[in-house]
């Protein structure tokens, strides 16, 4: 960002974008951000998710955090809730996996079964 003008320009652009694209149904992603989650790479996983969303121009999304849920050995943990699909938790998520989860599950509604550790 070179100036505040850039930020204003981006703001107006995003506003237009939201008007055209927003379908009103939001995907909820929850990431484990307790001590274990952070130590096992949750920050990098979250960054990869945001990056991928930016590249795909997808923003109907809510990203939340949670502390330890008792599955520390499976951190980083990522839970995806998309309207119409079961709520699914992925474990031992890497940066590469995070990118695919965004494209296949979040955007294209295809749950990646092999990586799921909990489904409800």
């Amino acid at each position: 960002m070179k100036s505040l003008e850039d930020l204003k320009k981006l703001r107006d652009q995003i506003r237009e974008d939201i008007k055209i694209r927003a379908k009103g149904e939001r995907v909820k992603i929850t990431i484990g951000m307790g001590t274990t989650g952070i130590a096992s790479g949750a920050r990098e996983v979250l960054k990869a998710i945001v990056n991928e969303l930016e590249i795909r121009n997808y923003s109907d999304i809510e990203i939340l955090q949670t502390g330890s849920i008792g599955l520390d050995a499976k951190e980083p943990l990522l839970t995806v809730e998309k309207p119409g699909l079961p709520k699914v938790t992925y474990g031992l998520v890497t940066i590469e996996m995070a990118k695919r989860i965004v494209v296949e599950h979040v955007i294209n509604s295809q749950i990646i079964g092999d990586w799921v550790i909990r489904s409800s």
Partner: protein
Amino acid sequence: MKELALNILDLLENSAAAKAENIMLIIYENTDKIHIELKDDGSGIDGNPNRLLDPFYSSKNKKIGLGLPFVKEIVTLCQGSMDIQGKPGSGTNISFNLPKGCIDLPPLGNIVSTIITFITLHPEINFKYEHVIGEKFSIFDSQEFKTMLEDVPINHPKVLKLLESYLENNLKNLYGGN
């Protein structure tokens, strides 16, 4: 933790769990030492603050992890110093000093990544970050960005990308040159 920036993220998450609305992170570096300070206006600390350094202490009301015990370990290994202040209702203030020559001191690491992650997860918290290196300093205030963004969320992926390059640039100017 491989980076101090990850310890900082853990402590920031504690502040969020303590319902802080305003958080300030100050990093002060010179050739000999690094000083890190975190102030929040969350629920503060009930009882003796030092018990939070005990890895076996846990409170049922507060979900705080091993963030503080891990920092305490580095402080002990490097013979640095640490201070925790906070009473119920008056927020928490954590600061620690570490000598840069210490072999057990993890690098500061990617502080920009820590800040972006925190803003992604907690857009409603007003976050201030001040970084001083020798004579140079940079200041970031998320509130200013939010005012400018009006109804557009600060954690929109495109805004985050812009914020990241903005913070990286600031940091580059801090470390680079004379």
